[in-house]
Symmetry: C2
Subunit: 218 residues, 2 copies
Amino acid sequence: MKKERISNNVIRRLPMYLRKLDDLIAHGVDRISSNELGKQMGFTPSQIRQDFSCFGEFGQQGYGYRVTELREQVARILGMKQGFTVIIVGVGNMGHALIKNFGFDAQGFKLTAAFDSSPDLIGKVIDGVPIYDSETLNAWCKENPTDIAVLTVPSVIARDMAKTLADCGVKGIWNFTNIELELDRPEVRVENIHFSDSLLYLGYIINESENEKNSPTH
Amino acid sequence: MKKERISNNVIRRLPMYLRKLDDLIAHGVDRISSNELGKQMGFTPSQIRQDFSCFGEFGQQGYGYRVTELREQVARILGMKQGFTVIIVGVGNMGHALIKNFGFDAQGFKLTAAFDSSPDLIGKVIDGVPIYDSETLNAWCKENPTDIAVLTVPSVIARDMAKTLADCGVKGIWNFTNIELELDRPEVRVENIHFSDSLLYLGYIINESENEKNSPTH
């Protein structure tokens, strides 16, 4: 079966669809039309149909999408049942926060170890995750093939560490540093996290409420 | 001038447009058609035109969008020059990480103070941000009207703290806890951060590379 290449931009929208579908399931919604889904998510119905058509036909004309089935397909396409192995590199504040509070398991990822250079941390175990010496990263990865490295080191060493990780054979780097990584290694995918998208949205909706409150017609 | 109400879903895409436009500017692109912008971002040209048409005409038929001008407009609509005041509530790992590494200033927000209940933290100053006792939150906010509270407290106290913050008169809560806040206060906007969207995307593109590598035609 020839699989059509799906645009990365469609893929980027899949986690949003996933959350929306989970929400619909939680509210007992069995099926939904592309019109209604578009309305709830602010896309045109044709954008919705185009996004889903890329990976096969989930919907039926005049019937809409079966929510549970669509949710399963989206999760499958995202590879959520893949069991990717993850390490955290840099156990400062952000690294700690991710170990303690981000549910890697719930998203289908396996957090296997963390690395830091601080003698105060090396040898400790945080919430079941052992912390090893960054110096041993390469040797450790040889024994424990690792799919994804979460990069939470200080910015000044971000580029060097990214290179080390590429040498360790990781397939992807989830970059929490503010540094734009310029890896000359196309086989290593880099994904930057953008906190600001969410804050800017919040700023907008607050602004909008204010304007409504202050409008003379209100 | 009557301002049309813009769908929140369009607004949610504005930070993405902003990053894209910054990227185009950095690459010396002066203008871009809705076709090309759509191609680069994976939207249909009509989705692009619809998104931008909501807040006035930026594009010219047959000429496209002026990138710098469009970027300015998007920033303006997002209210990035508003100077919203922000406090961080909960100076654990995530709170620390945000104080130290998230550029509130660069996004147009003013981080004025942080709050925690730990005697070890109260009275300290981290990167210029004073940490006060959470007990004084209400009194402090009366003196220092605050637009946004970043909620980075432990999950067990998230709901109670959100109520306190609503009583303090904040207009928005940027929620980093895993708790779904059910505030009975429509005037307080809540925005949840979703780290997982970004990790799921990374998982997908890794998967895709693997499949290509293993495909017999490769």
